[in-house]
Amino acid sequence: MAAVEARDVSVTYEGVDRRVHALGGLTLELADGEPIAIIGPSGCGKSTLLLAIAGLLRADEGSIAVGGEPVTGPRLRTALILQDFGLLPWKTALRNAALGLEVRRVPPAERRQRAAEALSRVGLAEFATAYPAELSGGMRQRLALARAIALEADLLLMDEPLSALDALTREDLQGLLLELWRSRGHTQALVTHSIEEAVFLGRRIVVLTPRPGRVSAVVENPGMGSEGYRDTEAFYERCATLRRLLAAEGAFAEVPR
Protein backbone atom coordinates (compact mmCIF):
# COMPACT_ATOMS: atom_id res chain seq x y z
CA MET A 1 0.00 0.00 0.00
CA ALA A 2 1.42 3.32 -1.02
CA ALA A 3 -1.30 5.93 -0.78
CA VAL A 4 0.18 9.40 -0.29
CA GLU A 5 -1.35 11.99 1.97
CA ALA A 6 0.15 15.46 2.18
CA ARG A 7 -1.63 17.93 4.49
CA ASP A 8 -0.97 21.67 4.66
CA VAL A 9 2.68 21.16 3.78
CA SER A 10 4.87 24.24 3.97
CA VAL A 11 8.58 24.21 3.15
CA THR A 12 11.00 27.09 3.37
CA TYR A 13 14.67 26.62 2.66
CA GLU A 14 17.78 28.77 2.58
CA GLY A 15 18.53 29.79 -0.97
CA VAL A 16 21.81 31.25 -2.14
CA ASP A 17 21.02 34.78 -0.96
CA ARG A 18 17.49 34.61 0.42
CA ARG A 19 14.94 32.35 2.04
CA VAL A 20 12.82 30.52 -0.50
CA HIS A 21 9.21 29.81 0.47
CA ALA A 22 8.75 26.82 -1.83
CA LEU A 23 5.50 25.31 -0.61
CA GLY A 24 2.77 27.20 1.21
CA GLY A 25 0.18 24.91 2.73
CA LEU A 26 -0.15 22.31 0.00
CA THR A 27 -2.66 19.50 0.41
CA LEU A 28 -2.65 16.54 -1.95
CA GLU A 29 -3.82 12.96 -1.81
CA LEU A 30 -2.91 10.04 -4.02
CA ALA A 31 -4.87 6.82 -3.82
CA ASP A 32 -2.90 3.58 -3.77
CA GLY A 33 -1.93 2.75 -7.35
CA GLU A 34 -2.99 6.10 -8.72
CA PRO A 35 -0.83 7.84 -11.33
CA ILE A 36 -0.91 11.61 -11.17
CA ALA A 37 0.91 14.36 -13.02
CA ILE A 38 1.98 17.59 -11.36
CA ILE A 39 2.37 20.67 -13.49
CA GLY A 40 2.82 24.36 -12.77
CA PRO A 41 4.81 27.50 -13.54
CA SER A 42 8.56 27.08 -13.22
CA GLY A 43 9.82 27.45 -9.71
CA CYS A 44 6.48 26.52 -8.15
CA GLY A 45 7.96 24.05 -5.69
CA LYS A 46 7.19 20.90 -7.68
CA SER A 47 10.61 19.39 -7.05
CA THR A 48 10.47 20.40 -3.39
CA LEU A 49 7.19 18.50 -3.07
CA LEU A 50 8.74 15.32 -4.48
CA LEU A 51 11.80 15.58 -2.22
CA ALA A 52 9.50 16.02 0.79
CA ILE A 53 7.42 12.96 -0.15
CA ALA A 54 10.65 11.00 -0.70
CA GLY A 55 11.70 11.90 2.84
CA LEU A 56 14.78 13.86 1.78
CA LEU A 57 13.44 17.21 2.91
CA ARG A 58 11.63 17.98 6.13
CA ALA A 59 8.38 19.97 5.90
CA ASP A 60 8.33 22.97 8.25
CA GLU A 61 4.60 22.64 8.72
CA GLY A 62 1.99 20.05 7.88
CA SER A 63 2.37 16.32 7.54
CA ILE A 64 3.14 13.80 4.88
CA ALA A 65 2.27 10.12 5.09
CA VAL A 66 2.92 7.29 2.66
CA GLY A 67 0.97 4.07 3.09
CA GLY A 68 -0.40 5.46 6.35
CA GLU A 69 3.08 5.91 7.86
CA PRO A 70 4.38 9.44 8.51
CA VAL A 71 7.42 10.19 6.35
CA THR A 72 10.51 10.80 8.49
CA GLY A 73 13.23 9.73 6.07
CA PRO A 74 13.77 7.72 2.89
CA ARG A 75 11.27 4.89 2.64
CA LEU A 76 12.33 1.47 1.39
CA ARG A 77 9.90 1.14 -1.47
CA THR A 78 9.81 4.74 -2.67
CA ALA A 79 11.84 5.36 -5.83
CA LEU A 80 12.86 8.87 -6.81
CA ILE A 81 13.98 9.61 -10.36
CA LEU A 82 15.54 13.03 -10.85
CA GLN A 83 15.98 14.96 -14.06
CA ASP A 84 19.54 13.75 -14.57
CA PHE A 85 18.42 10.21 -13.67
CA GLY A 86 20.74 9.93 -10.65
CA LEU A 87 22.92 7.32 -12.30
CA LEU A 88 26.45 6.85 -11.03
CA PRO A 89 28.97 7.19 -13.88
CA TRP A 90 31.41 4.77 -12.18
CA LYS A 91 28.99 1.86 -12.04
CA THR A 92 27.96 -0.35 -14.93
CA ALA A 93 24.30 -0.52 -15.93
CA LEU A 94 23.82 -3.72 -13.93
CA ARG A 95 25.40 -2.24 -10.79
CA ASN A 96 23.45 0.99 -11.19
CA ALA A 97 20.24 -1.01 -11.44
CA ALA A 98 21.27 -3.03 -8.37
CA LEU A 99 22.33 0.01 -6.32
CA GLY A 100 19.16 0.24 -4.27
CA LEU A 101 19.42 -3.44 -3.44
CA GLU A 102 23.11 -3.11 -2.57
CA VAL A 103 22.36 -0.22 -0.23
CA ARG A 104 19.77 -2.44 1.44
CA ARG A 105 22.27 -5.28 1.79
CA VAL A 106 20.45 -7.75 -0.43
CA PRO A 107 22.87 -10.67 -1.02
CA PRO A 108 24.97 -10.26 -4.22
CA ALA A 109 23.53 -13.21 -6.14
CA GLU A 110 19.96 -12.15 -5.53
CA ARG A 111 20.57 -8.52 -6.36
CA ARG A 112 22.36 -9.41 -9.60
CA GLN A 113 19.44 -11.55 -10.62
CA ARG A 114 16.81 -8.95 -9.75
CA ALA A 115 18.78 -6.17 -11.44
CA ALA A 116 19.24 -8.29 -14.58
CA GLU A 117 15.50 -8.97 -14.68
CA ALA A 118 14.78 -5.26 -14.31
CA LEU A 119 17.23 -4.45 -17.11
CA SER A 120 15.53 -6.83 -19.51
CA ARG A 121 12.16 -5.43 -18.48
CA VAL A 122 13.21 -2.01 -19.81
CA GLY A 123 15.02 -3.44 -22.85
CA LEU A 124 18.58 -3.02 -21.62
CA ALA A 125 19.52 -6.68 -21.15
CA GLU A 126 22.40 -6.41 -23.62
CA PHE A 127 23.86 -3.34 -21.93
CA ALA A 128 24.46 -4.78 -18.46
CA THR A 129 28.21 -4.11 -18.59
CA ALA A 130 28.00 -0.67 -20.21
CA TYR A 131 28.75 2.49 -18.23
CA PRO A 132 26.15 5.32 -18.28
CA ALA A 133 28.45 7.39 -20.52
CA GLU A 134 28.09 4.69 -23.18
CA LEU A 135 24.28 4.89 -23.14
CA SER A 136 22.01 7.31 -24.98
CA GLY A 137 19.74 9.67 -23.05
CA GLY A 138 16.74 7.43 -23.52
CA MET A 139 18.70 4.37 -22.39
CA ARG A 140 19.86 6.18 -19.26
CA GLN A 141 16.26 6.98 -18.47
CA ARG A 142 15.38 3.31 -18.92
CA LEU A 143 18.21 2.40 -16.58
CA ALA A 144 16.84 4.75 -13.91
CA LEU A 145 13.49 2.99 -14.28
CA ALA A 146 15.20 -0.39 -14.01
CA ARG A 147 16.64 0.67 -10.66
CA ALA A 148 13.12 1.48 -9.41
CA ILE A 149 11.77 -1.83 -10.72
CA ALA A 150 14.59 -3.84 -9.13
CA LEU A 151 13.66 -2.23 -5.81
CA GLU A 152 10.08 -3.37 -6.30
CA ALA A 153 9.09 0.23 -5.68
CA ASP A 154 5.40 0.79 -4.99
CA LEU A 155 5.73 4.58 -5.14
CA LEU A 156 7.49 6.14 -8.09
CA LEU A 157 8.33 9.85 -7.85
CA MET A 158 9.70 11.43 -11.01
CA ASP A 159 11.00 14.97 -11.40
CA GLU A 160 10.83 15.94 -15.08
CA PRO A 161 12.40 12.62 -16.01
CA LEU A 162 11.95 13.04 -19.76
CA SER A 163 12.68 16.74 -20.23
CA ALA A 164 16.25 16.21 -21.46
CA LEU A 165 15.21 13.80 -24.22
CA ASP A 166 14.41 14.47 -27.88
CA ALA A 167 10.76 14.31 -28.98
CA LEU A 168 10.81 10.77 -30.40
CA THR A 169 12.66 9.18 -27.50
CA ARG A 170 10.39 11.07 -25.18
CA GLU A 171 7.24 9.62 -26.68
CA ASP A 172 8.79 6.17 -26.65
CA LEU A 173 9.55 6.46 -22.93
CA GLN A 174 6.12 7.90 -22.14
CA GLY A 175 4.81 4.66 -23.65
CA LEU A 176 7.19 2.63 -21.45
CA LEU A 177 6.13 4.53 -18.31
CA LEU A 178 2.48 3.87 -19.11
CA GLU A 179 3.12 0.19 -19.78
CA LEU A 180 5.10 -0.21 -16.57
CA TRP A 181 2.37 1.47 -14.56
CA ARG A 182 -0.31 -0.68 -16.19
CA SER A 183 1.51 -3.92 -15.44
CA ARG A 184 2.83 -3.02 -11.98
CA GLY A 185 0.08 -0.80 -10.60
CA HIS A 186 2.38 1.36 -8.48
CA THR A 187 1.45 4.79 -7.19
CA GLN A 188 3.09 7.38 -9.38
CA ALA A 189 3.70 11.12 -9.22
CA LEU A 190 5.21 12.68 -12.32
CA VAL A 191 6.37 16.27 -12.28
CA THR A 192 6.47 17.64 -15.79
CA HIS A 193 6.60 20.83 -17.82
CA SER A 194 4.79 19.28 -20.74
CA ILE A 195 1.02 19.57 -20.97
CA GLU A 196 0.73 16.60 -23.35
CA GLU A 197 2.87 14.44 -21.09
CA ALA A 198 0.73 15.35 -18.08
CA VAL A 199 -2.46 14.39 -19.92
CA PHE A 200 -0.92 11.18 -21.26
CA LEU A 201 0.41 9.95 -17.91
CA GLY A 202 -1.78 11.49 -15.22
CA ARG A 203 -5.15 10.08 -14.26
CA ARG A 204 -5.46 13.28 -12.33
CA ILE A 205 -3.46 16.37 -13.21
CA VAL A 206 -2.58 18.66 -10.35
CA VAL A 207 -1.89 22.29 -11.24
CA LEU A 208 0.21 24.21 -8.74
CA THR A 209 0.28 27.95 -8.12
CA PRO A 210 3.51 29.96 -8.42
CA ARG A 211 5.76 29.90 -5.35
CA PRO A 212 4.86 29.30 -2.58
CA GLY A 213 3.22 26.32 -4.25
CA ARG A 214 -0.31 25.24 -3.44
CA VAL A 215 -2.81 23.21 -5.42
CA SER A 216 -4.56 25.57 -7.80
CA ALA A 217 -6.71 23.08 -9.69
CA VAL A 218 -7.11 19.34 -10.21
CA VAL A 219 -8.16 18.08 -13.64
CA GLU A 220 -9.78 14.66 -13.71
CA ASN A 221 -8.53 12.67 -16.67
CA PRO A 222 -10.36 9.31 -16.62
CA GLY A 223 -9.46 8.41 -20.21
CA MET A 224 -5.75 8.21 -19.33
CA GLY A 225 -4.21 4.87 -20.18
CA SER A 226 -6.85 3.84 -22.70
CA GLU A 227 -5.73 2.59 -26.10
CA GLY A 228 -4.87 5.38 -28.55
CA TYR A 229 -5.77 8.08 -26.04
CA ARG A 230 -3.25 10.46 -27.52
CA ASP A 231 -5.32 10.76 -30.71
CA THR A 232 -8.75 11.30 -29.16
CA GLU A 233 -10.85 14.43 -28.91
CA ALA A 234 -10.87 14.09 -25.11
CA PHE A 235 -7.06 14.23 -25.03
CA TYR A 236 -7.01 17.54 -26.92
CA GLU A 237 -9.76 18.96 -24.75
CA ARG A 238 -7.82 18.14 -21.56
CA CYS A 239 -4.73 19.75 -23.03
CA ALA A 240 -6.69 22.90 -23.85
CA THR A 241 -8.21 23.00 -20.36
CA LEU A 242 -4.76 22.64 -18.80
CA ARG A 243 -3.30 25.33 -21.00
CA ARG A 244 -6.05 27.73 -19.84
CA LEU A 245 -5.47 26.88 -16.20
CA LEU A 246 -1.73 27.34 -16.53
CA ALA A 247 -2.16 30.65 -18.31
CA ALA A 248 -4.32 31.80 -15.40
CA GLU A 249 -1.41 30.93 -13.07
CA GLY A 250 0.89 33.09 -15.17
CA ALA A 251 2.86 30.10 -16.43
CA PHE A 252 3.33 31.65 -19.85
CA ALA A 253 4.12 35.18 -18.73
CA GLU A 254 7.73 36.33 -18.73
CA VAL A 255 8.07 36.92 -15.04
CA PRO A 256 11.39 38.37 -13.92
CA ARG A 257 12.56 36.18 -11.04
Partner: protein
Protein backbone atom coordinates in the same frame (compact mmCIF):
# COMPACT_ATOMS: atom_id res chain seq x y z
CA UNK B 1 43.69 -2.41 -25.14
CA UNK B 2 46.86 -4.06 -26.45
CA UNK B 3 46.71 -1.66 -29.40
CA UNK B 4 46.72 1.36 -27.15
CA UNK B 5 49.50 -0.19 -25.06
CA UNK B 6 51.53 -0.74 -28.22
CA UNK B 7 50.96 2.84 -29.31
CA UNK B 8 51.97 3.99 -25.86
CA UNK B 9 55.21 1.99 -25.98
CA UNK B 10 55.92 3.37 -29.46
CA UNK B 11 55.35 6.90 -28.20
CA UNK B 12 57.77 6.34 -25.36
CA UNK B 13 60.42 4.94 -27.72
CA UNK B 14 60.10 7.92 -30.06
CA UNK B 15 60.31 10.38 -27.17
CA UNK B 16 63.34 8.51 -25.82
CA UNK B 17 65.08 8.69 -29.21
CA UNK B 18 64.49 12.44 -29.47
CA UNK B 19 65.69 12.91 -25.90
CA UNK B 20 68.90 10.94 -26.52
CA UNK B 21 69.59 12.87 -29.71
CA UNK B 22 69.09 16.20 -27.94
CA UNK B 23 71.35 15.02 -25.12
CA UNK B 24 74.05 13.97 -27.59
CA UNK B 25 73.90 17.36 -29.32
CA UNK B 26 73.96 19.23 -26.01
CA UNK B 27 76.98 17.18 -24.86
CA UNK B 28 78.79 17.96 -28.13
CA UNK B 29 77.98 21.66 -27.85
CA UNK B 30 78.94 22.05 -24.19
CA UNK B 31 81.94 19.70 -24.38
CA UNK B 32 82.39 19.51 -20.60
CA UNK B 33 82.98 16.44 -18.42
CA UNK B 34 79.96 17.59 -16.35
CA UNK B 35 77.68 16.60 -19.24
CA UNK B 36 78.90 13.28 -20.65
CA UNK B 37 77.31 12.06 -23.93
CA UNK B 38 74.54 9.45 -23.53
CA UNK B 39 76.66 6.53 -24.73
CA UNK B 40 79.27 6.86 -21.96
CA UNK B 41 76.67 7.87 -19.36
CA UNK B 42 74.55 4.79 -20.11
CA UNK B 43 77.65 2.57 -20.03
CA UNK B 44 78.49 3.95 -16.59
CA UNK B 45 74.90 3.45 -15.52
CA UNK B 46 74.99 -0.22 -16.58
CA UNK B 47 78.36 -0.76 -14.87
CA UNK B 48 77.27 0.84 -11.58
CA UNK B 49 73.68 -0.36 -11.49
CA UNK B 50 74.01 -3.44 -9.35
CA UNK B 51 76.99 -2.61 -7.08
CA UNK B 52 76.30 1.07 -6.33
CA UNK B 53 73.00 2.35 -7.68
CA UNK B 54 70.54 -0.38 -6.75
CA UNK B 55 71.03 -0.23 -2.94
CA UNK B 56 70.60 3.56 -2.99
CA UNK B 57 67.68 3.33 -5.41
CA UNK B 58 65.88 0.96 -3.05
CA UNK B 59 66.45 3.27 -0.09
CA UNK B 60 65.16 6.27 -2.06
CA UNK B 61 62.16 4.34 -3.40
CA UNK B 62 61.27 3.20 0.11
CA UNK B 63 61.40 6.75 1.45
CA UNK B 64 59.26 8.27 -1.26
CA UNK B 65 56.70 5.44 -1.33
CA UNK B 66 56.35 5.38 2.45
CA UNK B 67 55.88 9.16 2.53
CA UNK B 68 53.27 9.20 -0.24
CA UNK B 69 51.45 6.23 1.33
CA UNK B 70 51.29 7.91 4.75
CA UNK B 71 50.23 11.25 3.26
CA UNK B 72 47.48 9.62 1.13
CA UNK B 73 46.18 7.51 3.98
CA UNK B 74 45.63 10.60 6.12
CA UNK B 75 44.97 13.42 3.64
CA UNK B 76 42.46 11.71 1.32
CA UNK B 77 39.92 10.57 3.93
CA UNK B 78 40.32 13.83 5.83
CA UNK B 79 39.86 15.92 2.68
CA UNK B 80 36.80 13.95 1.57
CA UNK B 81 35.15 14.28 4.99
CA UNK B 82 35.93 18.02 5.13
CA UNK B 83 34.48 18.49 1.66
CA UNK B 84 31.22 16.78 2.67
CA UNK B 85 30.85 18.28 6.17
CA UNK B 86 30.13 22.01 5.85
CA UNK B 87 30.46 22.68 9.59
CA UNK B 88 33.87 21.03 9.92
CA UNK B 89 34.93 22.64 6.67
CA UNK B 90 34.02 26.09 7.96
CA UNK B 91 36.41 25.55 10.87
CA UNK B 92 39.30 23.75 9.16
CA UNK B 93 39.29 25.10 5.60
CA UNK B 94 40.71 28.52 6.57
CA UNK B 95 43.52 26.79 8.47
CA UNK B 96 44.23 24.53 5.52
CA UNK B 97 44.35 27.45 3.11
CA UNK B 98 46.70 29.34 5.43
CA UNK B 99 49.04 26.37 5.77
CA UNK B 100 48.92 25.10 2.16
CA UNK B 101 51.08 27.84 0.56
CA UNK B 102 53.77 27.60 3.26
CA UNK B 103 56.98 26.29 1.61
CA UNK B 104 57.26 23.30 3.92
CA UNK B 105 60.65 22.37 2.54
CA UNK B 106 62.16 24.98 4.89
CA UNK B 107 61.29 22.62 7.75
CA UNK B 108 64.08 20.28 6.64
CA UNK B 109 66.63 21.52 9.22
CA UNK B 110 63.99 21.27 11.95
CA UNK B 111 63.20 17.68 11.02
CA UNK B 112 66.93 16.88 10.90
CA UNK B 113 67.41 18.19 14.43
CA UNK B 114 64.32 16.44 15.75
CA UNK B 115 64.47 13.14 13.83
CA UNK B 116 68.18 12.56 13.19
CA UNK B 117 69.74 11.88 9.80
CA UNK B 118 68.13 8.51 8.95
CA UNK B 119 64.99 7.81 6.95
CA UNK B 120 62.61 9.57 9.33
CA UNK B 121 63.30 13.25 8.51
CA UNK B 122 63.16 12.59 4.75
CA UNK B 123 59.89 10.68 4.99
CA UNK B 124 58.45 13.32 7.30
CA UNK B 125 59.32 16.20 4.97
CA UNK B 126 57.89 14.52 1.85
CA UNK B 127 54.80 13.45 3.80
CA UNK B 128 54.03 17.00 4.95
CA UNK B 129 54.39 18.47 1.47
CA UNK B 130 52.36 15.77 -0.31
CA UNK B 131 49.79 15.82 2.51
CA UNK B 132 48.69 19.39 1.83
CA UNK B 133 48.52 18.88 -1.93
CA UNK B 134 46.29 15.83 -1.50
CA UNK B 135 44.20 17.37 1.26
CA UNK B 136 43.26 20.42 -0.78
CA UNK B 137 42.47 18.36 -3.90
CA UNK B 138 40.35 15.75 -2.10
CA UNK B 139 38.41 18.43 -0.26
CA UNK B 140 37.66 20.35 -3.44
CA UNK B 141 36.74 17.17 -5.31
CA UNK B 142 34.32 16.09 -2.57
CA UNK B 143 32.79 19.56 -2.48
CA UNK B 144 32.22 19.59 -6.24
CA UNK B 145 30.10 16.42 -6.32
CA UNK B 146 26.70 17.25 -7.85
CA UNK B 147 23.97 17.20 -5.18
CA UNK B 148 21.74 15.11 -7.44
CA UNK B 149 24.19 12.17 -7.31
CA UNK B 150 24.08 12.27 -3.52
CA UNK B 151 20.31 12.80 -3.38
CA UNK B 152 19.48 9.86 -5.60
CA UNK B 153 21.63 7.51 -3.52
CA UNK B 154 20.24 8.91 -0.28
CA UNK B 155 16.71 8.44 -1.60
CA UNK B 156 17.53 4.72 -1.81
CA UNK B 157 18.08 4.83 1.94
CA UNK B 158 21.89 4.96 1.88
CA UNK B 159 23.66 5.73 5.14
CA UNK B 160 26.39 8.36 5.30
CA UNK B 161 29.03 5.66 5.00
CA UNK B 162 27.30 4.21 1.95
CA UNK B 163 27.11 7.65 0.32
CA UNK B 164 30.88 7.89 0.79
CA UNK B 165 31.51 4.46 -0.60
CA UNK B 166 29.18 4.65 -3.61
CA UNK B 167 29.41 8.35 -4.48
CA UNK B 168 32.06 10.45 -2.76
CA UNK B 169 35.09 8.17 -3.09
CA UNK B 170 34.59 7.14 -6.73
CA UNK B 171 33.63 10.67 -7.77
CA UNK B 172 36.82 12.07 -6.25
CA UNK B 173 39.17 9.29 -7.44
CA UNK B 174 40.13 10.79 -10.83
CA UNK B 175 41.01 14.12 -9.18
CA UNK B 176 42.96 12.34 -6.46
CA UNK B 177 44.99 10.48 -9.06
CA UNK B 178 45.76 13.71 -10.89
CA UNK B 179 46.94 15.23 -7.63
CA UNK B 180 49.03 12.14 -6.86
CA UNK B 181 50.77 12.31 -10.22
CA UNK B 182 51.61 15.97 -9.74
CA UNK B 183 52.66 15.26 -6.15
CA UNK B 184 54.91 12.39 -7.28
CA UNK B 185 57.14 14.90 -9.10
CA UNK B 186 57.27 17.15 -6.05
CA UNK B 187 57.96 14.15 -3.83
CA UNK B 188 61.02 13.07 -5.85
CA UNK B 189 62.36 16.63 -5.89
CA UNK B 190 62.00 16.94 -2.11
CA UNK B 191 63.54 13.50 -1.70
CA UNK B 192 66.60 14.57 -3.67
CA UNK B 193 66.98 17.74 -1.67
CA UNK B 194 66.61 16.03 1.70
CA UNK B 195 69.09 13.28 0.77
CA UNK B 196 71.71 15.78 -0.37
CA UNK B 197 71.65 17.61 2.94
CA UNK B 198 72.16 14.78 5.41
CA UNK B 199 72.85 11.07 5.57
CA UNK B 200 74.96 8.64 3.59
CA UNK B 201 72.36 6.72 1.61
CA UNK B 202 69.88 7.29 -1.18
CA UNK B 203 70.33 8.50 -4.74
CA UNK B 204 70.43 12.15 -3.71
CA UNK B 205 73.40 11.45 -1.46
CA UNK B 206 75.04 9.30 -4.16
CA UNK B 207 74.75 12.06 -6.79
CA UNK B 208 76.18 14.78 -4.56
CA UNK B 209 78.88 12.45 -3.25
CA UNK B 210 79.95 11.64 -6.84
CA UNK B 211 79.97 15.35 -7.60
CA UNK B 212 82.29 15.91 -4.66
CA UNK B 213 84.59 13.13 -5.91
CA UNK B 214 84.58 14.82 -9.34
CA UNK B 215 83.29 11.47 -10.67
CA UNK B 216 80.99 12.88 -13.31
CA UNK B 217 80.28 9.46 -14.82
CA UNK B 218 79.06 8.19 -11.45
CA UNK B 219 77.13 11.41 -10.87
CA UNK B 220 75.31 11.04 -14.16
CA UNK B 221 74.54 7.38 -13.52
CA UNK B 222 72.90 8.49 -10.27
CA UNK B 223 70.90 11.16 -12.08
CA UNK B 224 69.64 8.58 -14.58
CA UNK B 225 68.64 6.25 -11.73
CA UNK B 226 66.72 9.02 -9.98
CA UNK B 227 64.99 9.97 -13.24
CA UNK B 228 64.01 6.33 -13.73
CA UNK B 229 62.60 6.22 -10.19
CA UNK B 230 60.40 9.20 -11.08
CA UNK B 231 59.21 7.60 -14.31
CA UNK B 232 58.51 4.27 -12.58
CA UNK B 233 56.52 5.98 -9.84
CA UNK B 234 54.48 7.92 -12.38
CA UNK B 235 53.77 4.78 -14.40
CA UNK B 236 52.74 2.94 -11.24
CA UNK B 237 50.16 5.64 -10.55
CA UNK B 238 49.02 5.53 -14.14
CA UNK B 239 48.50 1.76 -13.91
CA UNK B 240 46.63 2.08 -10.62
CA UNK B 241 44.37 4.73 -12.12
CA UNK B 242 43.70 2.58 -15.18
CA UNK B 243 42.69 -0.25 -12.89
CA UNK B 244 40.63 1.74 -10.39
CA UNK B 245 38.79 4.20 -12.65
CA UNK B 246 37.78 2.24 -15.76
CA UNK B 247 34.70 4.41 -16.36
CA UNK B 248 36.75 7.50 -17.20
CA UNK B 249 37.89 5.98 -20.48
CA UNK B 250 34.54 5.03 -21.99
CA UNK B 251 33.55 7.17 -24.94
CA UNK B 252 30.20 8.69 -25.60
Amino acid sequence: MSGSLGRRALGYLAALAILLAAWELAALAIASPALPPPTSALADFARLLVPALLPNLLVSAYRVLAAVAIASAVAVPLGLVLGRTPRADAVFAPAVFLLYPVPWVVLLPVFLVLLGIGDAPKIALITVIVFFQLLVTSRDAAKAIPPSSVLSVRSLGATRAQVFRHVVVPAALPDIFTALRIASGTAIAVLFLSETVAGTSGLGWYIVDAWGRVAYGDMFAGIIALALLGVAFYELLEAAELWLTPWTRVGR
